[in-house]
Every structure is written in structure tokens, then in C-alpha cells.
Subunit: 473 residues, 2 copies
């Protein structure tokens, strides 16, 4: 059987969210879209792969903010997704500018004049139904509709936006009469009883020219601000343009105002994975309604999600709770209050707590490091370098480093000397000395690094040469 034909679309994946509602698993430097919440792929990787089945990589772009560029690039890189476009917004300004920027940067001659916009961090169980829906949506988009997908509600959920549908437009589409913000419970119940209301999936399809026309009409500031940008526009030009445009969502800015909006009811096994509670619902539960992952030992809890990792978590008699444990932070939350996790994170951020920014283990293109402990004048890390990889050639102004190899084989450059360092051997890197760490072997290289100095942050790295993207060329 021949593979299905490519879809006539240019896919735009919006990957700029921070996802603070998944704290402590999500951090500002490790947002929801790169979390492996549902299997071995991150939500972003799964979104890309779901589209790459029917869209070639040169017609797929991931849009994120410059602040998240490294973590998003690394997440793509880890799955070999190096040939999709990565377009950076200087700063997040909600979805309308992101989509408008994509419309400017994509090459209209690349073989598709329909743009399809996808959140990076949703879950879709039924990939075949999803692809079918895209074909259906593309037909409506070709007919000059701004198309969105509506999920038939199964419960009076107050966490979603709703779309009220009207008469049929043919091709499975209905006229979208109104976009409704997250309703209260009474309204959500009324929508469910009345019928004709759909959850707003956040997926949109439209012809590029139709979108630009709508943009020019409904958000003229954004259209005017960005229209001079084209394929290959420089980061400086984008930064300059972004400075003057407002922050607004696609829903508010265009969809709610346009007359030619179609909603296509779909059944995709979809979830926005919006909260810990939504995630709980996506896992198979035991006969008490519990989902217990990791090194947890429970006695007699009910309807509870327990997400442990390496540490032991003991639980007794919990009901309707969320417990999430990470190496440096723990959340214990009533299931009814999961929407407030973002408020908790906002307060921790206000207090400038590190645990909102990064995990103790930080992924790098060459492997990863784990901060084991720090104190006045020192910091201890475990550094793991993947086979065949090397860190940048670098130096530090304010710290010296002691490395003790504990696994694998290290090739170490210090100044102009290169040596091999084996397990149970150590080397010393004085400050102000150019050095490089490489794993020439076929197994991971692990070493313990003891840093000493008066300043021990990541920004005291002067990169002299790099195999990755981290030295401006």
C-alpha cells in the first residue's frame, strides 16, 4: 500500500507556553511542552511526529520565544527533528502575533497555501481521525473559511473555552456563531444539555491569504508591524517589528470577530492536558481510581494521582489528591484545586525561588548535568557526556574545577595539553584556563565536578568553540 499523500498544509506548532500548572515537573526553563508526561516522547515531539506522518518537515515550523529557544531546540534535536523550521519570537505576545509571524516567514511557494496551527502541548489519541479531520478542514479552508475543530463535550468542563455552532456549511463544517471563554459550572451544564456547543481545541486552518486579509482587517497593528518581514528575516528585524505590536490571542483578535469562521466537530480522543487532574484522567487507574507512578508506596488512597521519581513517597488514606515529587520540590494538592498550581508558582517566582526556573538535572546537547549540592564557595555536579559528544571549549573567570571520572573515558583538554582520564582518575582546571571535555568512547562518560570559587553560576562560561548552536557564528 502506498503511503498516504502529504496533506496540502503548512503546519505551525505554537510552542511558546510556560505550563506552570505542571509545576514541579515543569519549570520556566523546562516547560510543559517538553515534558514526557504520556510516554517516551515529549508533548512537542509527539505533536511534530503526528504531523510528520502527513506533512514533510520543510512544511513544518515550531514557533517559540527566544527565552525558550535552547530547550525547544534541544527537545527537537533529541528526536532527530532537526529539519523542521524553528522560528523565534523575541518575546511571547500570545497566539495572534505568533501565527502572524509564521504567516510572514513561511515561503508561500513551498507547496502549501493553507496554514494549520497547532498547540504543541495537547494530546490526541486517534491519529488517523486527526489526519482525516485535517483533510476535511483543508477543504473548508480552501473555500475561504477560517476553520477550527470543536470537541464534543462529554462533561460540563469549566476548564475549556466553548464554541457555539450554527448551520451547516457543507464538508462537515458548521458556522461558528460565538466563542465563549471558560464558563462557570451552571453555564457549562447548560451547554451540555442544550447541545451544539463544542470545546475549542485551539487547532486552526486557513488559507494564508484569507488569514492575512482577516489580520489586516481585525488586527491592523499586527499586520502593519509584521508585513515587511519575509522568509529569512533576521532576528533583529523581527525584534524591531515585535517591539510595537500588541499581545492578543487569535481567538480574541480574529476568530471572535470574523464572519467566515467554521467549526468542524471531531472525535480525536483529545485532551489539552491542561492540569494535573486532566493528566490523571488520561492514565489507566486502579480499581480505587488511583494512578501511582514511580517509587511510591500507598495505603488505601482513592482517586489520587501520585507521581514520584527516585525518592520514596509514602501515602496513606488520601482522597482526590495530587502528589508530585521531584528531586528538589514537592506538590501536594487537592484535585479540586489544580487550577491554583499556577498561582502557587507565581508566588514562588515572586519570591525568586530557583525551583520555578530549572530542575537539578539540566539537559544539554552533549548530555546532561545534575546539581548535587552547593554551599558557600563550592558547587558539586554530576556531568554525563553522551558517547561521541564534547562540550564547548570554554573557560571560567571565577571558578576552578576538579573532575573525578567515575564511568567511561574522558578526553580532556586543559590549555594546550590533551590527556585521557579514566575512572578513579582526576584532573584540575584552574580558573581562566581554556578546557574541553570529550567522550571519545561508546559508553556514557560520567564525572563528578567540584567547582570552587566566589561565583558559580552557569553564565560564567566563555565559549571559545562549540559543536552545537551556542557560539554565534
Amino acid at each position: 500500500m502506498a503511503p498516504p499523500a502529504p496533506l496540502p498544509l503548512f503546519g505551525v506548532i505554537l510552542a511558546g507556553g510556560s505550563g506552570t500548572r505542571f509545576w514541579p515537573l515543569s519549570r520556566s526553563q523546562y516547560p510543559k511542552q517538553v515534558l514526557r508526561l504520556l510516554g517516551s516522547e515529549s508533548l512537542l515531539q509527539a505533536t511534530c511526529n503526528r504531523l510528520l506522518l502527513r506533512i514533510p518537515p520543510e512544511r513544518l515550523a515550531v514557533v517559540t520565544s527566544a527565552a525558550q529557544a535552547d530547550v525547544i531546540r534541544l527537545d527537537l534535536h533529541r528526536q532527530g527533528l532537526t529539519n523542521v523550521h524553528l522560528w523565534l519570537e523575541p518575546e511571547g505576545k500570545n497566539t495572534a502575533p505568533a501565527v502572524a509571524l509564521a504567516a510572514m516567514l513561511l515561503n508561500p511557494e513551498a507547496g502549501a497555501d493553507i496554514m494549520a496551527v497547532f498547540p504543541a502541548d495537547h494530546y490526541i489519541r486517534d491519529t488517523a481521525a486527526f489526519h482525516e479531520a485535517l483533510e476535511q478542514g483543508a477543504a473548508l479552508a480552501q473555500a475561504k473559511f477560517l476553520v477550527t475543530f470543536g470537541i464534543t463535550p462529554t462533561r460540563p468542563d469549566t476548564g475549556y473555552g466553548y464554541i457555539k455552532a450554527g448551520e451547516s456549511l457543507g464538508s462537515g463544517g458548521l458556522k461558528a456563531q460565538a466563542f465563549i471563554e471558560k464558563p462557570d459550572l451552571a453555564r457549562a451544564q447548560a451547554f451540555l444539555a442544550e447541545g451544539g456547543y463544542y470545546w475549542n481545541s485551539g487547532i486552526f486552518l486557513f488559507r494564508r491569504d484569507v488569514f492575512l486579509e482577516a489580520l489586516a482587517r481585525h488586527l491592523p497593528d499586527i499586520y502593519q508591524g509584521l508585513k515587511s518581514l519575509g522568509p529569512g528575516a533576521s532576528q533583529e528585524a523581527v525584534a524591531e517589528a515585535y517591539r510595537r505590536i500588541p499581545s492578543i490571542s487569535l481567538d480574541h483578535g480574529i476568530m471572535e470577530k470574523a464572519g467566515n469562521v467554521a467549526v468542524v466537530p471531531v472525535d480525536l480522543g483529545w485532551s489539552d492536558v491542561g492540569t494535573w487532574s486532566a493528566l490523571h484522567d488520561l492514565f489507566p487507574a486502579d480499581d480505587r481510581g488511583n494512578v501511582i507512578l514511580g517509587r511510591a508506596l500507598d495505603r488505601d488512597s482513592r482517586n489520587t494521582l501520585i507521581f514520584a521519581q527516585d525518592r520514596v513517597v509514602g501515602t496513606i488514606g488520601l482522597d482526590h489528591m495530587i502528589v508530585v515529587d521531584t528531586p528538589d520540590a514537592t506538590l501536594v494538592c487537592s484535585r479540586d484545586r489544580v487550577q491554583e498550581v499556577k498561582d502557587l508558582v507565581a508566588e514562588l517566582t515572586r519570591q525568586n525561588q530557583m525551583e520555578t526556573r530549572e530542575h537539578l538535572t539540566v539537559e544539554r546537547p552533549w548530555g546532561r548535568y545534575t546539581v548535587m549540592q552547593g554551599g558557600p564557595g563550592y558547587k558539586v555536579k554530576k556531568v554525563v557526556v553522551d558517547p561521541g559528544c564534547r562540550l564547548s571549549l570554554q573557560l571560567h573567570h571565577r571558578r576552578a574545577e576538579h573532575w573525578v571520572v567515575v564511568q567511561g573515558e574522558a578526553r580532556v583538554t586543559i590549555g594546550d595539553r590533551v590527556s585521557t582520564v579514566l575512572p578513579n582518575q582526576s584532573v584540575y582546571i584552574p580558573l581562566e584556563t581554556a578546557h574541553r571535555l570529550e567522550n571519545p568512547g561508546t559508553e556514557p562518560l560520567a564525572l563528578i565536578e567540584v567547582q570552587t570559587g566566589d561565583y558559580l553560576e552557569e553564565d560564567d562560561i566563555v565559549r571559545l568553540a562549540d559543536d552545537f548552536w551556542r557560539v554565534p557564528k
Copy 2:
């Protein structure tokens, strides 16, 4: 004003419990009695100090099991309590053998023929009332009663044993008519309504000769097994004697059977600190009933105890819960189910989980170490040596060690060489090499130790010389 006269007592502190109900703060090698649950003193230290106000140290003995000897000795040592007796049972056999052993080992000519028996791990707010009660109890004990203290119940608690009191015996004592095991709620409510029932405080006073007479009559196996032991009996003799005697509590074995038992009602501000819930009640709560300690951020919880340490714990909307976070293990438990913590620990112990045995930070007579991370072939520790202290002269058969000093000044012996190692300097200790670490300075010495080898447990230490009690003389 002259200090109050010493009490005419020999104090026996029973410190053999494991206190698994305070997991994850308590561990089998760090039991409840050495926890600093209520201030800067451990429960054992507080118990000793409360008695030392009125009993000289040579008339005070702590009885514990050989397995807990090091941690109990260290806890006493840390408060300078080096001159109280420490008597070791070869194994815990409940309270009757422990008290019987103490009766044999104490020197009846030491100036007190009344023994007073105290749990090591209870809380008493009113020290003056406690001392008064002891005087009163001593008078009854002199009159040949087996005396216990009864706490007037303030609620129908099902976590305590009860004593039913009868007619007055004079000197504030009442005849103890019955000892009742932890009752169910209905019975506890009836006791409270009826009156004349007291909580069994676990404190006992009796003349040594009266106790030995009761022991010979009611527990002849124990009496016969131990009667040949006297002051200064060897560990071997005690071990031999213990092999043959049964395990039984003082309450069951003697108090419930003897006719001459008196109960003295007392009001001491007493708690057995038996569970996390009991501990919660001892702290001042906020106006929602919460006690929140450590680095916790709470939103809108009620009647909840949150015990955090260095890690961030975020909590939202909890009600009637216990949350206890330690560096390697977390407990989340309904307040109604705190009695089951011991069952959880039993299950973890059955699974042979390290987190039931030791904390990551382990106290030593010379300071402490913290296990930071381990993996195949290596382990990383932070070692802190108190000023003026040194570790034993030791060697390891199966591991080498790399030390990087990060604070203070180390005097390091390796083989027959002694050197000074300063911050940002490192040394290497090959395996099979005698070495010693000393802090000759006046500030703490901290170093990072990376161990490498095929076996990295604490029992690979051959001690050649030691400043403490750890090399048999």
C-alpha cells in the same frame, strides 16, 4: 536560695524504641528518641536534662539495645551527657527485661533504693510539677507500692492505655484496679464520662527490693535468668542471660498482676508524642489550625501539619493532613490514619528500602557526612569535621577516595605523610592505604569525597585508631 535537694531515686530511662511512627524523620538507625521534634534538644536529651535537675548523673542510666548503642551514645555525647550510665541490652525484649536488667546492674549502695523508670521519648511541659510528682511517688514507693502516674484524660483518646483507679491509698495515691489496653472510641468515651480512669504515662517508681520480689513472683523466668548479673556485668554475661528470657512489657508482666499497685493522678502537660498527629497538637497552630515548618508554601489548607526541610513543598487546599518531607523520602497522610505510618514502614522494611534505615545525613562523633549521590562504582559524600576533631585512622580494602576541600583546613595523613590541604586543593587516598582526616582549625572543615570502587558501604572501614569509642580497647 539553695538548689533543691536531690531526689532519693535511681532513674532508669528506657531508650530502646524504634519509633517508626515518625518516619520519614525517624529511621531504624535514627529513632524517635533522638529526634529534635520539640526544640533544640532531642526527646532523650530533654528527658535526661529534666531528671538531672534533681538526680545526679551517677544515679541515672539509659537502657537501650546494642543495635542503637552508637546513635544513643552520640546523642548523649552531643549534650555532654557522658557521665550517665549507658546500659545495653543485647536485643530489645520489651520493658520488663529492660527494667529487670537495670535493677541488677545498678549499685544498690549508690545512695538510692527507689528505681524510677521513664520512657525516653515523652514530652513534659511542667518540669516543676513533674519533680513534685516524683517526690510524691517516692513516698508511696517507700511504702512498698509499685507506683505509676496517671494522666487525667481530656478527650476520649484511643491511642493510650488506661488505668482504672479505686480507693485512696494516702499520699495522693489511688489503688490501681485495672490496666486497660488502647480502647475503642466507645469505651474511651465511657471512661471519660464515668471518670476515675487515667492515661498510663509509662512512668513507674518502686523500691528495688519490692520490684525484684514482684519480678520473682510474676516473671520468674526473667528473675532467674538475670539474677546472677551485678554491677559491672560483662556484655557477654548479659548476652548469655538474655538469650533465655521472654519478651514482655512491665505492664503486662507485673503491673496488671500485682496487688500493690498505686496510681498517682498528675497534671504535667504530658504527651507521649506518639504520632504525627500528637506532635501537631503540641505546636501552636495558625488560625486555620495549620502548623507549617520549613520551606513550605501553602494555599488555604486547614488542620494540617507540614514539616519541610530544605526542599520546597507546595500545598494547596489540604484538610486534616500530615505532610513530612525529608531529603530522601516524603510522607503524605490523612491525620486520621497516622497510626498506620508504622505499617507503611514495615512494608518498606520488608522491601529492604534504605530509607527505613538511615538518613542521607549521618551524625558521627567527629561531625557528619551526607550521601549526595551514588551509582555503579562510585559514591559522593560531603564530609564535615567539627573544629578540633579527627576521624579514626583507617583504611579501606575496596575503595579509593578523592577529597576536595571546600571549607576550612584539613590535616591529612596518608601512609606516613602528613600534609595540610586547603580549600580548592585535593588529595587522593589509594585503597589499602592508612589515612586520617583532622580539622586542626577553629571553623568547620568541609570536603567533597568521591569514592570509587566495587564496594562502597560503611562496613569497609578498618579502624586502626580512634578518638572515640569505636575501636575495642
